[in-house]
Symmetry: C2
Subunit: 118 residues, 2 copies
């Protein structure tokens, strides 16, 4: 899986929020994926829990934009971005780890209260 393929998944992720399209989420995540958002909170295990998590985010109207060029390395990509939800702005760094099929096997979101403005 080359860097272009990883960055494509990042762009699909942004597009999923833009269109509130849960089918994109289903397409880019592995069935047995794990999402930890933020790191340190209880993780969402498996595609059903992950879909429920993103449906909640889409319902709140969250929209994403990339801050910088994604960093691709090994089986992973790390990227800095901005989330707008109503009047709230959050600036996380997410890390996707990909499986052998190019699906996201794990997502970890790094952000805390210091990265939230209102």
């Amino acid at each position: 899986m080359d860097a272009a393929a990883k960055v494509k998944v990042v762009n699909q992720y942004v597009e999923a929020f833009e269109k509130a399209d849960i089918n994109i989420i289903k397409a880019i995540y592995a069935d047995n994926a794990v999402v930890e958002d933020p790191v340190g909170s209880e993780a969402h295990h498996g595609i059903d829990a992950i879909v429920a998590f993103y449906e909640g985010a889409f319902k709140m109207g969250a929209k994403l934009s990339l801050n910088e060029t994604p960093r691709c390395a090994g089986n992973a990509v790390a990227f800095s971005f901005t989330v707008k939800v109503g009047d709230m702005t959050i600036e996380p760094i997410d890390v996707f780890r990909f499986d052998a099929d190019g699906k996201i096997a794990s997502m970890k979101a790094f952000w805390g209260p210091e990265n939230v403005t209102q």
Copy 2:
């Protein structure tokens, strides 16, 4: 370990490069730490291997500056920064995981050829 303590370690890391001070590296890393830079390459296990790795980087004159506010979450911090080494610029995202003593237990650096300019 609160966010301020994690950000302090990030700033000490930048300072270590600024001063080419290997004692700062010895102070912020756990003895049994693991450094994977970039992710996907062979990791450096233990403080002796880690010190050798940074001594090499210091010898090349690498200097760091943060791009954005670090993201603190759980036992970790992720941060985007710029490395200047001679005419070369690298823009990684690093993730530090801390142990119970507030030392860096693992460092993962996410960057690839797309994040290097010359």
